[in-house]
């Protein structure tokens, strides 16, 4: 990675950028070691443990209470009960080695790697509705990335499905019928990034622009409704719902009652309920996370109707995924205490977070 920016020091900006990643990696490693130790201490004090391993790849199953049944006037979210469906057996995420991986819900461990990194780690994995194909973004250098797909079985190598010169192709989101892919294309020019929301027909390659995208370009910024007629997307600090049935997609931003310093992200439709699951993150004046909650809100108005889960103190939710039954919710959690990050996957069970395992923070069912 080389750039034309001049620097008065000895190194090019690209070399400094590599150093930035190395330092962040070391900080993350230190943080992760501390998090494992802290979790062990908490567990040891709270519940009888018959077999406890300190190894990062065999984390214990931890139940973290998330507070009272009613929080801030909101009831705790309860999933539709009948017919009860088991949670998906696996989720996709980074593999901690720069590729995309398949992880076990039962053990919280990496089952297999699906991709090998190119110039930078692959990211933003998402599963198709039939759970056969994984889409992900793969960096290709300065402000360029492609979207690739790979069978979840790993039976064949990844293939490129979206590639536009000098554009970051990010946030792949396959439609429920698997025929289309919503994604965000970002062009870097000067000091500004311009992001647009696109839908590409995977058979013909035809691309339709749905307008500017003002989300955060992190994971989970786009969600299809189960019937494929609406898209929920991050829109500045809130969530917008696009009605795809109209000739020109109609975009209405939800009026989420967000407080100062708060933002909504990671929308996901809760099937059969008319609700969206979102993450709400609030930052304090010092830019630390003051609260992070997963909420169920009306997909028509944004009005919160239930609390799905509240993040433990010092942690925030950074990914949210709902399975097809709408009964199971997977959250990516990042511990944001101090300057480091320790991330893990957690499932919401009866309003409580159940840790699945220490994993990168882009978990998707």
């Amino acid at each position: 990675v080389r750039t034309s920016l001049s620097a008065p020091g000895d190194r090019t900006p690209a070399e400094v950028l590599d150093e930035v990643y190395r330092r962040a990696g070391r900080r993350r490693a230190r943080r992760r070691s501390a998090a494992i130790l802290a979790a062990t201490l908490v567990i040891g004090a709270a519940v009888p443990i018959t077999a406890l391993s300190l190894a990062a790849h065999t984390p214990p199953r931890v139940v973290v209470p998330t507070g009272p049944k009613v929080a801030g006037g909101l009831p705790v979210w309860t999933p539709p009960r009948k017919p009860a469906r088991a949670a998906p057996a696996v989720f996709v995420d980074g593999d901690n080695y720069g590729g995309i991986g398949v992880w076990s819900m039962k053990t919280g461990t990496l089952i297999r790697t699906l991709s090998q990194t190119n110039v930078g780690p692959d990211q933003q994995p998402v599963l198709s509705a039939d759970r056969r194909t994984v889409y992900f973004a793969q960096p290709e250098g300065d402000c360029a990335s492609v979207i690739r797909s790979v069978p979840i079985t790993g039976a064949s190598a990844p293939v490129t499905v979206i590639s536009v010169p000098r554009m970051l192709a990010l946030e792949p989101s396959p439609s429920p019928d698997g025929r289309e892919l919503a994604w965000v294309g970002v062009t870097c020019h000067g000091k500004r990034l311009t992001a647009r929301l696109y839908i590409t027909n995977l058979a013909s390659g035809a691309r339709t622009s749905l307008g500017l995208f003002s989300g955060e370009l992190s994971d989970d910024g786009i969600a299809w409704s189960p019937d494929g007629r609406q898209l929920a997307v991050e829109d500045a600090k809130t969530i917008a719902v696009l009605d795809l049935d109209r000739a020109a997609p109609f975009n209405h931003a939800l009026h989420l009652p967000l407080g100062p310093g708060c933002a909504a992200s990671d929308p996901a439709f809760l099937p059969g309920s008319g609700l969206l699951a979102i993450n709400e993150t609030c930052l304090s004046v010092e830019s630390t996370v003051s609260s992070s909650r997963a909420l169920a809100v009306s997909s028509a108005t944004g009005r919160p109707v239930a609390l799905i889960a509240a993040a433990p103190k010092g942690a925030s939710f950074v990914a949210l995924s709902v399975d097809r039954s709408g009964q199971h919710i997977l959250l990516g959690v990042v511990s944001s205490a101090d300057q480091g990050t320790g991330s893990y996957a957690a499932e919401v069970i009866h309003g409580k977070l159940v840790t699945i395992g220490i994993a990168p923070s882009a978990e998707e069912w």
């Binding site: 930035v20 990643y21 970002v186 000091k191 370009l217 990168p360």
Partner: protein, 162 residues
């Protein structure tokens, strides 16, 4: 153990690194140290990118981190009076050290405002933007900060010796 490469972070870094480097270099007084300090500030941003990327004024946040890191670094490793001996440079370094010692006694926002304005050579409006306060508040911080520096015995002593 690596950190996932983030294209959006990379873009932000490439567009904003020169400004962070400029500030760090001005405060520290050397480009190599500035480079290292800017890298440290960005690595802290990357470590908590999920939160930082959502900040409305993340550029300002980063410049505050640069400022604080620079002040800390100067406190821990004051610039040496290195050979070859140059009287002007020595005098400047001594003066700088005295100012830095006095700065440590100021409240944080006064310290940040003074460093950004007089070490970083930012305008009042730019300091206001970085500190996310009004220009009037910056002027107040500067006025009080400078008054604090003028009243500092170490600086009075420096002036008295000349």
């Amino acid at each position: 153990m690596g950190v996932q490469r983030r294209p959006d972070f990379d873009c932000w870094f490439l567009e904003f690194y020169p400004e962070a480097l400029r500030l760090a270099t001005r405060i520290l007084g050397n480009a190599t140290g500035g480079e290292d300090l800017a890298a440290e500030a960005f690595s802290r941003a990357l470590s908590r990118w999920e939160q930082v990327q959502r900040l409305e004024y993340r550029d300002a946040w980063l410049l505050r981190v640069v400022t604080n890191l620079a002040i800390d670094q100067l406190r821990r490793n004051p610039p040496a009076t290195s050979p070859p001996y140059r009287p002007d440079q020595t005098e400047q370094t001594d003066e700088r050290l005295a100012v830095l010692a006095a700065l440590r006694k100021l409240p944080r926002q006064q310290r940040q405002a003074v460093v950004l304005r007089y070490f970083g050579e930012f305008s009042v409006a730019e300091v206001a933007s970085v500190l996310e306060v009004s220009a009037g508040t910056v002027k107040t911080h500067l006025r009080r900060g400078l008054a604090g520096l003028r009243a500092d015995p170490a600086l009075i002593g420096e002036e008295g010796q000349r």
